[in-house]
């Protein structure tokens, strides 16, 4: 108990930092890019490549180094006796590098298989959700925009993680519940509605199950939530006349890393008010020394909104903890009139991702 108090006191007093059991680590991405050609959406946006939906990371026809650049600092304190605290401070170029806590949670290790966590975390919908900002951890410049579209990406709540070894297989997963009340949702306010939108996802219940062995990695995800939305403080009424609608999200991904071949895939479906929003991605890469050229195709399909992206790129691991990437994206927006996102576009981007 004395030790816990000591650590807490030190954490509050920066000048004594050197004595605290706090680990500081971080990640950074600096990327530049531009739209080479694009149709835009007449009356809505000019030639635009929407690289990441939730953060509204937008490339236009002039060189910009903001959309995919981001810096993160992670602080973790081991309070011993199974208890630890983790905070991650992230600033994204798309948010003008405003610093905010993306993660802020306590972990309690119940036993060697189970850990309970409480606080603010990334909503683990997709395969890349947990490390979306840590671009060094994946092959591309960014997870494909067509798949990672949902406007809510954090939640505050409680979760239980588990990890079991079954002969050659590692079985791990996560069960979580919580909510997110985003007073001014960036994607909906700044991009789609152009007026203040408060987006609430509540009564979130979800689970993730991962199976890994050697070169194979399988992941199943399911989540259900209730959605309320306020546009200019007025509650949005859904098709059934109420202000609450239930969404269900499910997904599956299979990844293979074998003999320098990397094959990545992910398929997801969100069901809202009887409509299905289907997304998938497939990607292949081949490692040649420090170089990994890759191709990527991703797709979004719903009753009104339909778009896909074909990408080709290369990752160059020029450093033991940094990689240079160059990527070309060709977006086709086949959405029905009124549901277009950003129109067709061809864009180039490059950058360096690192961890420290």
């Amino acid at each position: 108990m004395k030790k816990v108090l000591l650590v807490t006191a030190i954490a509050a007093c920066f000048s004594s930092f050197a004595q605290a059991e706090i680990d500081v680590s971080g990640f950074a991405s600096v990327a530049g890019g531009k739209v080479l050609s694009g149709s835009g959406v007449p009356g809505f946006v000019g030639p635009t490549f929407l690289a990441t939906y939730p953060t509204v990371a937008v490339y236009e026809e002039e060189w910009s180094f903001k959309p995919d650049s981001k810096f993160g600092l992670q602080f973790s304190a081991d309070l011993t006796e199974g208890l630890s605290a983790t905070a991650q401070l992230v600033g994204r170029g798309a948010d003008d590098f405003d610093a905010g806590f993306e993660w802020a949670y306590l972990s309690y290790e119940v036993n060697e298989h189970w850990t309970v966590q409480a606080g603010k975390k990334r909503l683990p919908l997709y395969y890349y959700s947990d490390f979306f900002d840590v671009s060094y951890a994946y092959l591309w410049i960014r997870p494909p925009a067509d798949n990672y579209t949902w406007q809510i990406f954090n939640y505050t709540g409680i979760n239980a993680q588990f990890n079991y070894q079954l002969s050659d297989w590692t079985l791990s997963g996560n069960i979580y519940t919580g909510s997110e009340d985003d007073g001014s949702n960036k994607l909906l306010s700044d991009y789609f509605f152009k007026e203040p939108v408060r987006e609430i996802w509540e009564n979130i219940i979800g689970g993730v199950l991962s199976l890994n062995r050697d070169w194979l990695d399988l992941r199943l995800t399911y989540m259900t939530y209730e959605n309320r939305r306020f546009i200019n403080d007025q509650p949005r009424l859904w098709n059934d006349g109420t202000d609450t609608r239930r969404g269900k999200f499910m997904g599956f991904s299979a990844n293979i890393d074998y003999n320098n071949w990397i094959l990545l895939s992910e398929i997801n479906r969100l069901t809202l008010e009887g409509d299905d929003f289907d997304t998938y991605l497939v990607s292949a890469g081949y490692r040649v020394g420090q170089w990994t050229p890759y191709v990527l195709y991703s797709d979004f399909d719903s009753p009104g909104e339909i778009h896909s992206t074909s990408s080709v790129g290369v990752r160059w691991d020029f450093h033991s903890s940094a990689a240079f990437k160059l990527q070309y994206d060709d977006v086709t927006d086949d959405s029905l009139a009124g549901s277009e996102v950003a129109g067709d576009s061809k864009a180039i981007s490059f950058g360096v991702d690192l961890v420290f």
Binding site: G91, G93, F131
Partner: protein, 375 residues
Amino acid sequence: MNKTRLATLVALTCYAGVVGAEVTINGFASIKAGMASNGDTLYGYTDDIDFKNESLFAVQVQSDLGEKLSVTAQLLARGVNDFDAEFEWAFLTYQINESWRLNAGRLRTPFYKYSDFRDVGYAYDWLRTPQSVYDLGFNTIEGLSLYHSTSFGDIQSNLQFVFGAYDGDARVLGTQAPAQIDQITGISWELSQDWIAFRLAYLVGDVSIQSAQLSGLTNTLNTLGLTAVSKDIDFDKDQGSFFGLGLNIDRNDWLLVSEYTHVEVKDSFYAEQDSYYVSLGHRFGSYTPYVSFEKDDDAAKPEIYARLPAQLPPQLTAGVKGLVDSQFFDNNTWNLGLRYDFHPSAAFKVQYSWAEDQTTKRKDNLMALGVDLVF
């Protein structure tokens, strides 16, 4: 003093082979209070005492990843923004060789002698950088910066090339408006020898600002077919340029600091702005008193309204004329101050400033004091 921590992995299981890197944390802080004379306003102060306006805290995290690569992030919280923190610096550094270095990310724009550390009050003697010169509405760009340092005999040369873009707000007619400055390209060069340093900076960029303050007027002009006049007023990919000169002398405890800048945005109503300051100080042990003079000389562009047709509604002509003429500014400022180094890494400062608008003869006086420190 630097605190060094051995960092561990980002708590992710997904990437392997990452070895812990050294993380260095240091920072700086300023706590300042100021109050203008009765009825006066200057640099954001009014005649009520204010502790937030120029106070700030910053933490800087640096990590050397080895193999010539390092990363720097500076989290800065300004009192004037309610101490909301943002990454003011966020860049990667690649040391190409002994004399060449590349930075990429969010960088300080190298406009001024003290651009890199204008927030680090401890680094200079004044209570604040001379505002007549240090008054461009933005400090940072996102992009690339290439540095070259070398010496010719006992002359040290530091050359910096910069390329990038600014995407944020700019102050137009007293109101913040969304602004973009694209294709910013620039160079700065500093030569120093023992007690003397000379600096030169030149930057250009394409300036676009969507100002609601302007759009009413430009829309009216466009409706009347006066698109050429409208284009002479608005900021629509108009070429902006910045030119700066600096001279520093530090000899026999005498300190002379001086900078001159010229800023203009072609095809806009923005004035051609000339500014300079001269500052003279003397070190007496841990006390450094100083006096400085600053000048703003902003020339309006009456040629914009000279071309308006005579039959226009008079209120429209007056609107254009008022807008253009509002850019005219002829202002003198004197500062008298003292720096007292009461601690190895902290300084107390007090500065009295009085500004006089040479046209309106309005005078504003300000007293401010505070502590700057680094850790």
